[in-house]
Symmetry: C2
Subunit: 338 residues, 2 copies
Amino acid sequence: MAVTIKDVSAKCGLSISTVSKAFNNYSDISAETRELVHRTAREIGYYPNAIARTLKTNRSYNLGVLYSDDGQNGLTHSFFAQVLDAFKSECEKHGYDLTFINHNVGWTGMTYLEHCRYRNVDGVCLVCADFYSTEVAELATSDIPCVTIDHAFNNRSCVMSDNLQGVQQLVRHAVSNGHRKIAFVHGQRSSVTENRITGYYRALNEAGIDPRADYLVDALYDSPTAGYTAMNQLMKLADPPTCVLMPDDHSALGALEAAGDLHLRVPEDVSIAGYDGNRLGQMLHPRLTTVKQDTKRMGVQAALYLIERIENPRTAVSEVGMVPIKLIPGESMGKVKK
Amino acid sequence: MAVTIKDVSAKCGLSISTVSKAFNNYSDISAETRELVHRTAREIGYYPNAIARTLKTNRSYNLGVLYSDDGQNGLTHSFFAQVLDAFKSECEKHGYDLTFINHNVGWTGMTYLEHCRYRNVDGVCLVCADFYSTEVAELATSDIPCVTIDHAFNNRSCVMSDNLQGVQQLVRHAVSNGHRKIAFVHGQRSSVTENRITGYYRALNEAGIDPRADYLVDALYDSPTAGYTAMNQLMKLADPPTCVLMPDDHSALGALEAAGDLHLRVPEDVSIAGYDGNRLGQMLHPRLTTVKQDTKRMGVQAALYLIERIENPRTAVSEVGMVPIKLIPGESMGKVKK
DNA sequence: ACTTTTTCCGAAATCGGTTTAGTGAGAGCG
DNA sequence: CGCTCTCACTAAACCGATTTCGGAAAAAGT
């Protein structure tokens, strides 16, 4: 069925070795022979089989992508989907394919690491995973080249969105609009969340505002309903905040809904901000004040780090790339009423 | 580094063949031996290498996924992302991994089909692709098992969302609310679009309404700006429609925006419907009337068709699965003013 | 003319498995 | 006891490439 190197060698009247060498640009092949080989290969539609090549060279030109199985937020989550999309394009540009890594391939209970070895991936990108699980840590700290998104492992490359700056700028923006009672609703425990909380405290401190425990609310990412609940809770405080920062744009939608149900106008009665800069937030009225993460740059950067590691294992160093964010002011954040 | 079959055979004092057979449940291996092999394999952490196995058996347990490179709507598009997510889960359940197929791996200008052969995928799922391109057609009609989403190729399995019913039900819903002037804004040419237009005409016919050419507007999928433009155009007609069906929820957002800018209230002055049933549509006020596609079922069904084809090539027949949709009424569609 | 070097190519081992064909030991049988 | 049959296992070919090592022929040097 498929055309193999043998067909080329037969058609050229050359040995298999010679054909292989011609394809891999060995120096001990004459220009004419090389040309002949390439020509006939094109004629009969030959291209080396990746499987056979991988077996011998131990280089698959295939990268693993860890995209949390469990968790409801898989491919559906727009932030991760965008990062992955950019990562994918950049990898393809360099000749690498992408295969999903998971830990329940059929019957066998392979770990992530085992799955990577099983498929001989050259490297792996942890896009969206439970970074606190031992299995993920095992993979990240293995000898397989690895890059992570938004969570740093010791001595491994990582691309981070500047979450600290993101929240800090949001708070500054709020303060510049006269807000002093600023609440922060955050998502699940993660390094992203930690950085954002730090940014929150830092900006409050900078503005000389004392943080209040009841203004820091534990909620979920990407959950309008959790956002609704959190907003409700905040607004029912004896001394409610005048500005609420939500974990993301979807959650902010829930908050807007809650405000509506409480007959609070946004931004006249209360200001709300999201995070992510989804298109939808810009279609709302009021337009959502939010922070745009540079997902494209994150994905591309991750690909470059990983490929560098793979292709220059000796000289490549692990890097932590901090990708800047951009504050997007919208009408959902208003000046505070006197 | 990696532990191979040799290590197991050495540790057991058995030949390589025996170990392999024990793993593949050959009948000419005694129960004790089989047990011994599995036990030691577990001890030293052995699992057969997929690459080596593939080379010999020509079965990779790897499926290709075609997810349009070009087109801006890649992984980002929520409908496709959801289908892919379900497809992925189901495949993993059956022991298959997923690799993205594209046509610009590095320098080489491989076609989709060549890429599939290059990676030895057992089958391929065309999720989101330009079905009218010759390259895609070449792949779909090749000897590689194939399943498509929302576009049927002769004698190939396919999973379709019932788009005809979807639009038909929307129109019926509009009619039942007293609308007679119903416009349909549709996305790019595709089999999905064709079916929807047919559903539109059919429902109009059913209600005894004469279709009007100026009520059928050519726009784009997933484009709020195109939606905005289309809505604007419709509302400026001498005799504007009272109800507008948009290509999808995102486009509907654009239409809502346009209505707002024209100081038209929804649904009092004009009714608007979306398509897809995104979460966001349900968070809007007014809640968007829309059609929910069963993306999960589509993905799972596609996986089952494909795997059936792969594992029972002789008996499997090509099937076209029609997945039902669900109308989701919302406040964006109101009773027509007298 | 003879040695040395360079150029170009091929034989064969190898990667880690699967599978076919065969083999030796013991059981069953007359 | 000798024969055949099973049973349980192994040797070896093979999948499609890459790569090391070596060798023949041509070119260069003396």
